[in-house]
């Protein structure tokens, strides 16, 4: 993404967006309200219960915060993939194929949803709160983990987005399925995974590697053992999981585009 051409494409999108000032302002406002409501729901929820799956409120907020920041970044980077069915239906995808650039980065930079920054902002606020309220054994390693975990999480979520969107090359109406995995993945990653039933948990935690976004890194930060018996090492491998997920996403995308060029559906 460091290539100047993508920087310029992003820059052009930002200019295009500010061209519709009122709509941009309304989008930001809507996001702010949505984020406020979400925080309110969580605080009400936690006033009713003291713990969730054996985790205290502030511990859960830590997971929620890391997941929110990760998802917010991924949404800005990859959220544009939600438009893929539209690209395919209207032939805009063909235009992408006519350019000497990869199709995936072209779609990713085709819009920058600046108003989605709200999600990252609330995530950061929640993170500040959680870090202050939890007893964390600070060391250079834990500091690094606080910084790296949301970034690795963003890569994981973006990869999930890519893979789930690629379904649309086969099912043009596959958008619902995609959203289930992307937005569902965010909901899943925001809470301790031991509260979910077995099959769903295994799928969302390890197939969609949602557990590596916030749950395992949070355990490592808190110095807690996994109630499910996973090794402590899991908290530190998120960057590797992210790399692997990105690799898989790249391969799936290539395969999907090959299918599209092979069928022209």
């Amino acid at each position: 993404m460091g290539e100047p051409v993508y920087r310029r494409l992003v820059g052009a999108r930002l200019r295009g967006q500010t061209a519709y000032r009122v709509s941009f302002a309304l989008d930001c406002l809507a996001q702010a309200i949505a984020q406020g409501v979400e925080l309110a729901v969580i605080s009400v929820l936690f006033r009713q219960v003291d713990a969730l799956g054996g985790f205290s409120v502030s511990e859960v907020v830590l997971m929620y915060a890391i997941a929110s920041i990760s998802f917010g970044i991924a949404d800005m980077a990859a959220g544009q993939l939600n438009e893929l069915p539209d690209y395919i239906r209207t032939g805009k995808f063909d235009v992408l194929l006519l350019r000497p650039l990869g199709t995936l980065p072209q779609i990713m930079v085709s819009d920058v949803r600046l108003h989605r920054a709200g999600k990252i902002l609330t995530g950061l606020l929640a993170l500040a709160y959680a870090l202050a309220r939890n007893d964390i054994a600070w060391s250079p390693w834990t500091v690094l983990l606080v910084v790296v975990a949301p970034l690795a999480g963003a890569v994981i979520f973006s990869s999930v987005w890519v893979v789930a969107s690629a379904v649309c090359f086969w099912l043009v109406e596959g958008q619902q399925l995609t959203s289930t995995v992307t937005y569902g993945g965010n909901a899943f990653a925001s809470y301790p995974i031991n509260i979910y039933p077995g099959l769903l948990r295994r799928f969302m935690a390890f197939v969609v590697p949602g557990a590596f976004v916030a749950y395992y890194p949070a355990l490592a930060l808190l110095g807690r053992d996994d109630p499910l018996g996973g090794p402590a090492l899991l908290g530190w491998v998120s960057p590797l999981v992210a790399l692997a997920a990105a690799g898989v996403a790249g391969l799936v995308w290539r395969f999907a585009v090959r299918h599209y060029r092979g069928t022209g559906s």
């Binding site: 494409l9 052009a12 295009g16 061209a19 032939g91 235009v95 006519l98 650039l101 060029r261 022209g264």
Partner: protein, 318 residues
């Protein structure tokens, strides 16, 4: 510039036959098509809807991968070297835009310069040329969504030319344009082909486009090449009859014994005669001289079968 050998392209069509049952059927959109286009040519690629035109264009431009056959465009295999090909050719789709909808035209051009990594000097020169010839100056700073169709198409053509392609592929470039815009575009393209030697391949339903731009016509129907050659030659082959319509000062008999005349139709009580003849048998000049020797000619018109007739007859002969 373009080399197509035995190109085939199949699609699987799924149709619902019951609540859960589906039947799959293989449709051949392009069936054993072969042709070559040399550098500097201007070729019209015509055919009815569903004849396989768009599929061929998509294969030539690297969007679709062929089922079988050999394709070389600008020296590369479009299926394998899509990005390499993209740098060498320009593509204009009349029905879909490659401009940025909410940005001024000028910004779209700047982005394309970055995408194709065109040196600043080349970009400036090519843009200046297009701005002048296509008269873009008045709306360069207007967002694309506010342009008229004619203005937008001129922008699209410019966008496809800024990286200096050696081949320009146009899919229905004049669709929906008014007469003046069409004419302006044709003039520009004819000039591009003649002066800069850019190879043109265009699909169209407007046969005037072909008449104006393409010395060579490639007719496709049901996935196969139906005819390929100079427009004149095709005309000679399938619609060789020309008609000389003469208005006479006074009736002068049927004149059906003139050399080369195949049939005569008389109108206005013998004052107007339609003389059908063939280029291979006599020339218009010789016939006019022969008529003038026998009758007082008031006025005359030479009617050629138009390209529409040519294509229609080609279809009818199948």
């Amino acid at each position: 510039m373009i080399e197509v050998r035995d190109l085939r392209r199949e699609f699987t069509v799924t149709t619902k036959t019951g609540r859960f049952r589906r039947s799959r059927r293989t449709v051949r959109a392009v069936d054993a098509v072969s042709f070559d286009v040399a550098a500097g040519e201007a070729v019209g690629y015509v055919g009815r809807n569903g004849a396989g035109k768009s599929t061929t264009i998509k294969i030539l431009t690297g969007i679709l991968v062929p089922t079988s056959g050999r394709v070389r465009v600008s020296g590369v295999d479009p299926a394998r070297s899509r990005r390499e090909l993209a740098r060498r050719i320009g593509v204009v789709f009349g029905q879909r835009s490659q401009l940025w909808w909410d940005l001024p035209l000028r910004d779209s051009f700047d982005l394309l310069r970055a995408i194709y990594r065109v040196p600043a000097e080349d970009h400036r020169r090519r843009l200046a040329e297009c701005v002048e010839l296509l008269e873009l100056a008045d709306f360069l700073d207007t967002p694309v969504r506010q342009l008229s169709l004619g203005q937008r198409m001129r922008g699209e053509v410019t966008a496809a030319l800024l990286h200096g392609p050696e081949l320009l592929v146009l899919d229905e470039p004049t669709i929906g344009l008014d007469l003046e815009s069409k004419e302006r575009l044709r003039e520009f393209l004819a000039d591009l082909n003649a002066r800069r030697g850019t190879t043109l391949l265009l699909t169209t339903h407007d046969l005037d486009d072909i008449e104006r731009l393409c010395p060579r016509l490639l007719v496709i129907d049901r996935g196969a090449v139906l005819a390929d050659g100079p427009l004149e030659e095709l005309r000679e082959r399938v619609a060789p009859d020309r008609v000389l319509v003469v208005d006479l000062e006074r009736p002068a008999g049927p004149l059906d014994d003139l050399p080369g005349v195949r049939s005569v139709r008389s109108e206005l009580g013998g004052l107007r005669l339609h003389l059908t003849f063939r280029r291979a048998e006599t020339t218009a000049a010789a016939l006019i001289a022969a008529v003038a020797a026998r009758a007082d000619v008031h006025d005359l018109v030479l009617e050629e079968p138009d390209i529409d007739d040519v294509v229609r007859r080609l279809y009818a002969r199948r």
